[in-house]
Amino acid sequence: MNGPARTTDTTPPLDRETIGAFGPHLAYAKDGRLDTGIEPDKYVKTHCCFCGQQCGMQLKVKDNVVIGVEPWYEFPFNKGMMCPKGIKRYLQQAHPDRLLHAYAKDAGATGGFRAMAYDAAIRQTAEAIDRIQSTHGNDAFAVLSGASLTTEKTYVMGKFAHMCLRTAHIDYNGRLCMVSAAAGNKKAFGIDRAANPWEDILGAGVILVSGANIAECAPITTNYVWQAREQGAKVIVVDPRITPIARTCDLFLPVKPGRDTALFNGILHLMIEHDWIDHAFLEQHTVGFEAVAASVREWTPQRTAEVTGIAVKSIQQAAEWWGTAETSFLCHARGLEHHSNGVKNVMSAINIVLASGRIGRPNCGYATITGQGNGQGGREHGQKCDQLPGGRDLANPEHREYVAGVWGMDPAALPQPGVDAYEIIRKIDTGEIKGLLSLCFNPVVSLPDSHFVRQALEKLDFYVVIDFFLSESARYAHIVLPGSLHEEDEGTVTQTEGRVVRINKAVECPGEARPDWQIIQDIAKALGREQGLTFESPREMFEELRVASKGGIADYSGISYERIEEHYGVFWPCPSDVPDGVPLPGPQGTVRLFEPGSWNPVARGAGPFYFPDGKARLNVTPYVGPAEDVDEEFPIILTTGRVVSQFLSGNQTRRIGPLVDHCPEPRIEMHPRLAARLGIADGDWATAESRRGHCTLRASVVTTIRPDTVFIPYHWPGRKSANQLTIAAQDPISKIPEYKVCAVRVRKADAPPEYAAALEPQQ
């Protein structure tokens, strides 16, 4: 992937006019939201829209405005706890930037967009889709969807693409998030879900957190980890930065970005050497251990230390704690997964879990921490390029037949698997894809190598965006349709533990905005292909989804809205019927996976794992370095990540005043030793350059990061975007982009960047 630096000018436009008209502007509480004398009309129990943990909360509603929140103490996952995003999420509603109409691109209009009638916009959209598909074939129109949508909407999006548009190309932004974990889990366990509920963290003796900045990205999990520590657990954190949770953990492994496989191989090596292995479990429940054992033989502590940059004694300590633990929990997140070898990283982590035999029992577990609101549910029901509802495969003839049967269509008419989100962008660039519909996806900010993405989007014949605010990507759209906010629609979401929870509607859509699924159905209707897309409500979709997922791995057939409400969520798989002699899951669904003796539709009683033989797989994970390693020219590692106050591309959170105040602008974080060498002081403007672009930000000089690495949070757009620098290298299996490692050089900036004076921090 390494090549010469780009020579063309890659500076994004400032877009000041558009920003002036459509924001991001900041909303603060005022009037009714500050008035302490207002009695809300109702308290709506729902969940937070800003991460995969889906904290339960109550929205206070008065006159169709969400005026505040109130903790929902009874919801068992978070018991009233919330992070700052959850507390302030109400400010996104009734926001001055809210899109109230459809818009058409119009260079002459203020901000570059002209308001237009909704029906006309739908008609134009349908015409454009029809034109592109009839001229260039069905696959010339692609769909990009999102993992913050309710599961019902993701189901509709899959159905819309596969049945209405019949395009192969639908993918979603979970591609940038959880897919490596999903693929790794499928390969190892045959199922893709957190194996354990978070309660199992509480009783674990050793907790290994790898590449998860829990404090900032999954704040509520902090209480689980600390709670376990109060009861004597040892906490091991693997991260290139000393994150808040790493600060006082019991053992910190400052891994060099991109070297996680090496670390886990090294730990497994030591476990084997000291025989900290559960032979009985491996024998009975797994296959592949011998090959893996042979492959990690070369990963001596010395070699592991050399590659990972972690001291030998720390590696030994970690292996000992992990190896000799009675109970344990391993969790990881994007730090492990956002790599061109993300799936391997995940599988190598799973290897040490399987070798320990500590899974499928109380207090013994493994999980990936999902990031997006519906990170789990969004990847199960058919908006992934190769997937059908129920976690079924689009390439599997049986699966095709079943779903086509539910949908009432000819299985042969279902498209074949398409390509991943970034490949869609590449195909747009080559002209293979001419039209695009995106919902809940802001590729200009969130995809790597954003200059490439921008220039690709500019090539589209037709681009329609459904959104509630004019996102940075929507600035490239021809038509923008006003969609719905989380609080304006109902449905279900599957949170990080695999618990399906209810999202309740708090307010109505304002102006001409409508629920996203209605917009999709309106387009289908205007296309004259509304068959199967005539739902009246999310509940109807859910009922169909239950049928469509039945018998699949992600089986929702036993879940109903009422059951969710009664039991504070239901864990899938939750089949509605099972063969005789097999117990149905309890009222809460299947809370813990892989329990000894448990039944699943793949193993059919052969064992607890989701393979025909019921056994888990240990996969050989040879270490391969990152796609772009440092060299003479670009000698510093860049890694990216999040801050607690922002969510993903920031299209929502960059409009919420108190959250922006919290961390107004991205800074480039570097170790004082590196800073000293570069002549940069805290607060100076520093320019980071990669082969793909450059970015000037203020420096934050702190010792809490490895001296060979710099860090930039990615929530900001345009010239502040970390993704101007990141590399579009992807994992060969999961297709996740390598956000966590690329090579850059850094220097002190000659002058403050132009945007500093021209734009507000959040813009």
Partner: protein, 214 residues
């Protein structure tokens, strides 16, 4: 209504992750909506992510109240030291400078000191205060002593603090190890301690970032 006796506030700064949920939550409180009373500082951000959340500890004999020339700070019978009475406070800053825990905040334009009143609108009806409800690390926690003892078996709450020769007892507790040799937290004894964190040591690096002279 007074705050129920059985419900107490427990602070464990060691758990804090600096997420600011408490700050945002505090602005939702009905007794001072839109204003945060939480004090949350980085001890030394250049070297550590250590943060310290401080709410009013509600002293038994509040220094803030005694040094107030305007008699504006009152302690109610349930032990809550209320925020300054609006008609009285003359914004002299005495309380801000005298509070041993650095709690009160001065609103110069309003000529008013404001401080944490433990969400009196909530706690006086048996609810948890906003910050302790939200705090994702439960560095700020609210509940009964029994609950705390069950959840944190190796810790104990203490509420006596030493500042030089002055001993201060408070309503709010701070969590220390159960077998700590003392029931007094000597604040001034640790005053010149540097921040707590970690170092990424030199010998960790087998490879230099750029082959340079690190």
């Amino acid at each position: 209504m007074p705050v129920p006796d059985a419900l107490e506030f427990f602070i464990d700064p060691g758990r804090c992750i600096g997420c600011q949920a408490c700050i945002q939550a505090c602005t939702e409180c009905d007794t001072h909506k839109g204003q945060s009373m939480i004090q949350l500082d980085y001890v030394d951000r250049a070297h550590s992510t250590q943060t310290v959340p401080v709410v009013c500890l509600h002293c038994d004999s509040p220094t803030c109240a005694e040094v107030c020339p305007a008699d504006a700070i009152k302690r109610t019978e349930d032990g809550i030291v209320q925020t300054a009475r609006k008609p009285r406070c003359i914004a002299c800053n005495n309380c801000v400078l005298a509070c041993p825990f650095g709690v009160p905040k001065m609103q110069t334009k309003m000529n008013l000191m404001m401080k944490c009143d433990m969400c009196y609108d909530r706690t006086s009806v048996g609810l948890k205060p906003w910050c302790a409800s939200a705090c994702p690390s439960q560095a700020l926690a609210f509940g009964t002593r029994e609950e705390m003892a069950r959840l944190r078996p190796h810790a104990k709450p203490v509420n006596t603090f030493q500042f030089g020769r002055q001993t201060i007892r408070t309503k709010v507790n701070i969590m220390v190890p159960r077998d700590a040799p003392t029931d007094i937290v000597d604040v001034t004894a640790s005053m010149h301690e540097p921040t707590i964190g970690r170092e990424i040591l030199d010998d960790v690096f087998m490879e230099r970032p750029d082959g340079g002279d690190a």
